[in-house]
Structures are given as structure tokens and as C-alpha cells.
Amino acid sequence: MNLKDLLLEKKSSILKRWFDTIVASYPPDTSNFFKSNHNQFANPVGFTFSEVIHGLFEELLQGGDPERYFPYLNDIIKIKAVQDFSPSQSVSFLFLLKKVVREELRKELQRNQFQDELLSLESEIDALALLAFDIFMQCREKIYEIRTNEARNMMFRLLKRANLVCEIPDGNQGLGEETVLTQKIEG
């Protein structure tokens, strides 16, 4: 029996534990909600977490191209990037997998037979973390891009109509110089 088979055997307990450590980073009432509601649409965050770790785990067992991890990591990091997490917090869930595996397989590992395989699994996880970090940065850049795009889309319209709109000027006397840039778009 090699490490892969062993992991496959223990898959459900490993994933359960991994999931629990991930949602434990939220307040307890919230993590309970993430855990207990299984509806994909009523609980998108919890659902995504559980989909992603299943996917990642499968891919890890099969090994291979890091590109294949991308969609999974992308799904989860996207969520982390708009919640209150620092970059390190956002990717740290991957390192937790190492710990979970070691704890779950404590007995087997004591026999020392999987050292090499374990080492390669762990460096695979490290590679994942690096990829996750890149994705986190992409997400944050995307958020800022969306923000500036909103402003730029307004500007574009405004340039076409330079000085044709007015905002409430300071001190209320007539139309002020300040015109276009802070105009709002909504309905």
C-alpha cells in the first residue's frame, strides 16, 4: 500500500477535518452556518469551500499539472479576497492540509514508510500555496481595476459632455467650477 491509497481510504475524514479548520476562521455562529446548510444557493460560501477542497484533494492524489488546480483555487481565493482576510490568512488553509494529513495518518507515518511520498505531497501543497498567492493578488488587482473602471466609465461619458452637468457647488452660489469628476451614476 502506498500513501496515495492510504489517503484515498481516509479521504472523508481528512476532508471533514480540513473543512472544519477552514471554517473555524470565522466567528462560531457563522462557521456553523457555513457547515450546516448544504444548499448551493442558500450557502454559497460553505458550498464552495467544500467543493474546492474535494477538487483539490482529488487533483493532489492524481498529481500533475498545477494548471488543473487553478479553477478550484480561484473559486475559493476569490471569496477570501473580498472578506476580511490578509493575503497570508487567505492562503494559509492550504498549509493546514499538511497538518491534517499528518494527524490523520499519525500511526501509519510512525512506521516511517511513506517519507518520500509524504515529502513530495507536501512540496506539491507548497506549490499550490504559491499559486494561491498569485491568485489572491490577481483578485485584489481585479477589485481595484473594477473600482477604477467605474470611475473611468463615468469619465468617458463626462468628457463627451464636458461641463454640461452640474453638481451642488460649495457655498451655493451659482454653478461652480467643480463639475464632472464626482458625479454619480445611479437611478
Partner: protein, 537 residues
């Protein structure tokens, strides 16, 4: 110092709230709140305590007696709104609403559970307005109104989009929107507004619309539409403005006059009205159907919307046709008649094309444009070619206000099914009366709170993503101007590849008009299906 372990690292920001929620101070996170209102905006409309202030500052420059003002205001309002007093009194904290809020689902902050968001104010109400709270204090769930409590109420009153999804599931119909509306009203007594709401309110008071478009600018906007439409269809539409004696006054949200993709909706409406030969007029004064005043105080909401009936009366029209907008219709449908009725100087609306009487609007004389168009289609008055929208695989997002504050569910769907061939619904628990908010409603569609918007929009985006993956949906239709402004960035982040459209943009595309030239592009100037490269010929 030893390096933190991963699980310590992951926990840093989320100390589990061991303390009771009453003792947890609000933590103002960047990206989660909007900038403070500017003095000039409040001054222009005469709202209290205009001054420069900043959310991040310790001192919010409140009046000396701010507690007194707030508590007096609270006492006054629980005597004016049965809803408010009842909702503050009868919650049993069963928790049915807890996981219904899009902000809680997407973000996980426990104070975004509707019950707890309401408790923030409820605890103050108990302290100052109930005997048990006054005597028993904390044990009765009451607490002092300290500056931290005030800030907390502010922070969370502007993290609620008044979407009413929680109210649907509450066994007593407790409506957090109602509580947020009145909480914001109380905060406005102290000048605690946000710039993104206060600015448009001042603009709207002065120019008639949130964007501050002056009359000639509106004309100019429409001139551009007319040119674009002539290029696309070969037909020159000729809308009129401020014309007395027209049969119908048309009022739309000003966002649709100015910002893409809302502008395409307006262009679609222009084509429709032209084809029908409708006797209607636009108004540069009643140039805003939406009402950001609704997000400040009841009085401000009424002040901003006085112009609609006033203009209808001045222009001597028979009735009013309202465009695609969400909160506009909550206000028109549930508030207008009470504020301004009886509207006996207008006539009961009758469609001049089909002769249908709009019985459900006979008292306040305002008809929703999807009601108007659905009736046209049902009576076979429109010549439609849905194939022109064949490049679109469409799903439909119900706007919170039209679904839970009105019940306009089938009309838009009926239209969509007649103007395009590929329509797929999102999952059942995310549409119709259970629809998820876009996460940016009730004036929270600023840019500085982008993280908040993206979190709040996650449940909605997640459902779109599902149909995007399953059916290849590439177009999200809606009937709300805020949706059209905020769903594009939301899609850009969560579901790249899905664009956003108003329903009447699709109507405009599908509409076969008398005397039009062979259309090669849609209203966006993109080639129609099967017409790619046609223009080069």
C-alpha cells in the same frame, strides 16, 4: 518571536466573539463603508448638522445634545409608525431570518444577521422607551446609547440594502428594511449620512435628477440617442420634452439617460414609443423616477418626488408611465398615492394602443412599463423578431423592490420570452419573491465600498454562475437602474462573460419597425447574429 502557526494566522482577524454582541465594538473596515456626506449636500436641502466629517475620525462632530436628539426622534417615530413600534416589540429571536441576508451569507459578520442588525437599535429602544428596559437594563436586552453604539448603528444601517428578503421568512413579517429606513432617518437627524446618498439627493432637489443633469444636457443626451438610433435603424425618432397636452408623461431613472448599459434600455423605449406613435412626453424637470431621498428620511423622499405629479399636472397629461427601476417602483407603488393622493387631476390609465384599462393602477395613475409592454405583446400589437437576440442566452434577475414590494414577477418574464429565444431561470430559491439582492441597493452603490458590494452580491452572482455554467447564459436581464449600474462589475468579478441588459433593450432589438432599414447591429452597435461582417460589404 516564534512564527505563528497557520491556524493562528488564519484566526487573527476573527477572534470568536466570546463576549456578548452588546460588548463588541464596531470595527470599521476599509471597503465596508461609504464616505461621509459633504456639508454642502446637506446644506442645500436643509438637512441637520451639515459639516465636514470622516467616518475614520474619532470625533464625528455631533451636536452637543446628540443623545437627546436621537432618543427624542426615536420616541417620536415609534408613535408615528405602527410598523416600527411593533417590529421593535415582538421579535422573539427565533433566528429564521439569520441566514437570509446576502451580506451575512457572503461575508459572515454576525451583526449582519437581520435579527441582530435590528437588535442594535432595539436595545436602545428598550432602554429609553420601555419600563422593563429602563429598570432591568442589560438583562432585559437594553443598553445605553453611547457613541460606540451610535457608530455601530450607523455602520450596520449602511450595510443593509432594504431588500426585505428577511421579512419574507419572518413569522411576524418583521421587516428589517423598515427598521433600517427609520434608523437612517434617526441618523440623519444628526447629519450622519453618506456622500453617495446625500450628493444625489441634493442634485435631485435642484435639477430634478440624481446626476445633476441640467435640462439642456438631458436634451443633448437624447440627441445622441436619436443619432445612434438613426444609424442603427434608419429611423429618426422625435421625442418631445416638457410638452403640454401630451397623453402620457414618461419618467425613467436618470441613470438610464447617462450610463451604459442603461442608456440602451432608454434607446429601446424610444424605438417602442416611436413605433406605436404614442402621444407622450419626457420631462427635464421630472427627470428622475428613482428617489434617493427614500434612503434618508420619509420627508426627503416626499420632497424629491413631489415633482412627478406636479409636472404631470402642469403638463396636463392623462397618466404616467414609469420606466425600469427598482426602488423607484417601491416608492411609486407603496408610497406615492399616500403622499400625494387623491390624484384626481389625472385619468385612469388606459393603453391608447390596446384599449386595456390598467385596473390595478386606477387610483394613482402610474403604470409600469413592463405592464404596458406585456399588454401590447399579448394583444399582438408588436411585430417582434426574437431571432435578433439569438446571440443572447438570457437569465432574469428580479429586483428586490419590484418583487417583494410590488409583486411584478410575470410581466417582465412574459416580455423576455417574446423577444428572445433562449431564456433560462436561475434556481428557485434565488428568484421571484426569494430573489437575492445585487448587494448595492439603497444607495450603497459607491466605489469605495467595493468589497462590501462584492460580498453582498455573492449569493446573486453564485446563482448566475450556475446558469452560466449549465446553460451558457451570457446575459443577465433586469428591470432596475441600480442593477444595471452594479451588476456589470459584480459579474466582472464573479462570473466573467456575463453582461447585463434592461428588458426594453431587448425589446428594442427585436422590434421590427415600419420603414426601418435592414438592421445589422443591435443597440450597442454590435453585429446582430448572422450579420457579422455584413457592414464591410
Amino acid at each position: 518571536m516564534a512564527n505563528p502557526k497557520p491556524e493562528e494566522l488564519i484566526r487573527i482577524n476573527h477572534v470568536p466573539p466570546k463576549q456578548a454582541w452588546m460588548d463588541t465594538r464596531p470595527d470599521f473596515r476599509p471597503g465596508m463603508f461609504c464616505y461621509a456626506s459633504k456639508a454642502k449636500s446637506l446644506e442645500y436641502v436643509g438637512m441637520p448638522n451639515p459639516r465636514q466629517w470622516s467616518v475614520k475620525d474619532e470625533d464625528w462632530h455631533l451636536p452637543e445634545n446628540w443623545q437627546e436628539i436621537f432618543i427624542e426622534g426615536l420616541r417620536e417615530r415609534v408613535d408615528k409608525y405602527r410598523s416600527f413600534r411593533l417590529f421593535l416589540d415582538i421579535c422573539v429571536r427565533c433566528g429564521a431570518c439569520a441566514d437570509k441576508c446576502h451580506f451575512y451569507i457572503g461575508g459572515g459578520d454576525p451583526k449582519n444577521m437581520p435579527v441582530l442588525r435590528a437588535e442594535l437599535l432595539r436595545s436602545v429602544y428598550r432602554k429609553y422607551c420601555t419600563t422593563s428596559g429602563r429598570i432591568m437594563g442589560k438583562i432585559a436586552g437594553a443598553r445605553e446609547l453611547t457613541i460606540d453604539v451610535l457608530k455601530e448603528i450607523w455602520y450596520y444601517a449602511y450595510q443593509c440594502t432594504e431588500c426585505r428578503r428577511c421579512s419574507l421568512f419572518c413569522p411576524y413579517g418583521i421587516d428589517t428594511a423598515e427598521i433600517t429606513i427609520l434608523a437612517r432617518e434617526l441618523l440623519n437627524l444628526l447629519g450622519l449620512n453618506i456622500d453617495w446618498i446625500a450628493g444625489p439627493v441634493a442634485n435631485c432637489y435642484r435639477t430634478g435628477n440624481h446626476l445633476g443633469l441640467q435640462p439642456h444636457t438631458i436634451k443633448d443626451s437624447f440627441d445622441m440617442f436619436i443619432d445612434d438610433l438613426e444609424t442603427i435603424t434608419g429611423i429618426k425618432v422625435s421625442p418631445t420634452f416638457n410638452r403640454k397636452g401630451a397623453e402620457i408623461l414618461v419618467v425613467i431613472p436618470s441613470g438610464s439617460m447617462f450610463a451604459d448599459p442603461g442608456t440602451f434600455t432608454t434607446m429601446g423605449e424610444l424605438l417602442l414609443f416611436h413605433e406605436l406613435g404614442l402621444d407622450y412626453t419626457w420631462s427635464t424637470f421630472a427627470s428622475e423616477g428613482g428617489d434617493f431621498g427614500f434612503f434618508t428620511t420619509n420627508e426627503m423622499a416626499k420632497r424629491l418626488h413631489s415633482k412627478i405629479y406636479a409636472e404631470a399636472k402642469r403638463l396636463k397629461v392623462k397618466w404616467i408611465l414609469g420606466g425600469e427601476c427598482g426602488h423607484m417602483w417601491r416608492v411609486w407603488h407603496q408610497y406615492h398615492n399616500t403622499w400625494f393622493g387623491p390624484v384626481d387631476y389625472l385619468e385612469e390609465p388606459v393603453s391608447p394602443i390596446t384599449g386595456t384599462r390598467f385596473e390595478n393602477a386606477k387610483s394613482n395613475k402610474t403604470v409600469h412599463i413592463t405592464e404596458f409592454t406585456a399588454d401590447l405583446i399579448k394583444n399582438g400589437k408588436l411585430n417582434l423578431d426574437p431571432k435578433r437576440n439569438d446571440n443572447l442566452i438570457v437569465t432574469y434577475h428580479d429586483s428586490c423592490n419590484t418583487s417583494r414590494g410590488m409583486g411584478l414577477l410575470e410581466e417582465p418574464r412574459f416580455i423576455i420570452n417574446n423577444v428572445c429565444n433562449n431564456f433560462y431561470e436561475m434556481p428557485e430559491n434565488t428568484i421571484r419573491e426569494q430573489t437575492f439582492c445585487c448587494g448595492s441597493g439603497s444607495g450603497l452603490n459607491a466605489s469605495e465600498n467595493m468589497e462590501q458590494r462584492l460580498r453582498g452580491g455573492l449569493p446573486r452572482a453564485n446563482a448566475v454562475r450556475h446558469v452560466h455554467k449549465k446553460y451558457g447564459v451570457n446575459m443577465l436581464a433586469c428591470i432596475c437602474a441600480i442593477d444595471r449600474a452594479v451588476l456589470p462589475p459584480l459579474m466582472d468579478y464573479w462570473v466573467p462573460g456575463v453582461a447585463v441588459t434592461g428588458v426594453h433593450e431587448m425589446v428594442g432589438n427585436a422590434l421590427i419597425m415600419k420603414g426601418e432599414r435592414k438592421r445589422t447591429t443591435n443597440l450597442r452597435g454590435e453585429p446582430l447574429p448572422g450579420m457579422e461582417g455584413e457592414e464591410d460589404v
